[in-house]
């Protein structure tokens, strides 16, 4: 598993394409729940989490599920925990969930990259 994180608009997607060579990506913004088990790579993974939370699903088991069902997937997610605590309760839950899930995935991943100014730095 490879995890690519970074701030918004940093060139994460392009970097992930370069290092993985993958051409077909699921889009977390629009894909269904099951695609996480079957896709080769997923962009906007943070939106995937947001959508599942919006459906009322419990997301805590996602890292284990990915490790079990799709251990070679490439996931691309925004880092979004470096601001003020959101006023809205759902936003708070979403922000923390993305942080916790990415932390869990990073523990399982063979490589984690953080992209700044279009450049991926391998942090694991």
């Amino acid at each position: 598993m490879i995890l690519v994180i970074g701030g918004a608009f940093q060139g994460k997607q392009r970097f992930a394409r370069e290092i993985s060579g993958l051409e077909h990506w699921a889009d977390g913004q629009s894909c269904g729940k099951e695609e996480l088990d079957t896709c080769d790579g997923m962009i906007h993974f943070h939106e995937y989490i947001r959508n599942r939370l919006g459906e009322g699903l419990d997301c805590t088991g996602i890292p284990e599920r990915v490790a079990r069902n799709n251990p070679h997937v490439v996931l691309v997610a925004n880092e979004l925990g470096c601001g003020v605590v959101p006023v809205d309760a759902f936003d708070r839950r979403y922000r923390e969930a993305v942080g916790r899930i990415c932390t869990g995935l990073a523990a399982e991943a063979e490589a984690v990259y953080r992209v700044v100014c279009g450049i991926g730095v391998r942090i694991k």
């Binding site: 970074g6 701030g7 918004a8 608009f9 940093q10 060139g11 943070h46 925004n78 880092e79 979004l80 925990g81 470096c82 601001g83 003020v84 959101p86 936003d91 922000r95 993305v98 700044v116 100014c117 279009g118 450049i119 730095v121």
Partner: protein, 171 residues
């Protein structure tokens, strides 16, 4: 050499950038200031930065928009601060490039690279707060992100400053 220095607010990126310029040795030093003095707060910030630079022998030139037209002495060491201001000026000032901001700023950087001996650009890390922004602010983030990534591609070195500590992104 082309260096890009990024970091959050108050991270010490300006002081680090100035030190990078000094480390390049004696040279004609040009400081390209991009912050438009809208109000008292801007004036105070500008005064603080002027004070920081006062003993470092910089000539300051203001450039709020139209970086491509800026002439600097051939072979000089140029410090441009800050890209986040320049992008906002191009997007929102009357004479700015508006929707052509990314192209205008990119051409400006290319122009400076063609003239200066060394170029150091300070930019801003404002992309990781996870907040949903209105369309206009999101566009600003997108433009600045695209310019940062483009500069990162061209740069010989990219450094992220955290608590005054330089982290190497690219060397």
């Amino acid at each position: 050499m082309f260096r890009v220095i990024t970091g959050g607010s108050g991270s010490g990126k300006s002081a680090y950038a100035e030190q990078c310029v000094l480390d390049l040795g004696p040279a004609e030093r040009i400081y390209v200031a991009t912050m438009y003095p809208y109000d008292e707060e801007c004036h105070a910030r500008i005064a603080r930065h002027r004070q920081m630079r006062s003993r470092k022998q910089f000539s300051t030139v203001e450039c709020y928009t139209g970086l491509e037209c800026l002439q600097v002495p051939a072979g000089s060491v140029v410090l441009l601060e800050c890209m986040s201001n320049l992008v906002a000026n191009e997007m929102y000032q009357e004479q700015g490039a508006g929707e052509g901001t990314v192209e205008a700023v990119t051409a400006g950087i290319d122009s400076l690279l063609g003239q200066a001996g060394h170029l150091v650009v300070v930019t801003n890390e404002i992309f990781s707060d996870g907040l949903p922004y209105d369309e206009e602010t999101a566009r600003y983030l997108r433009y600045l992100g695209e310019i940062n990534a483009r500069m990162g591609y061209l740069a010989d070195a990219v450094t992220e400053v955290v608590c005054g500590i330089p982290l190497i992104i690219k060397r």
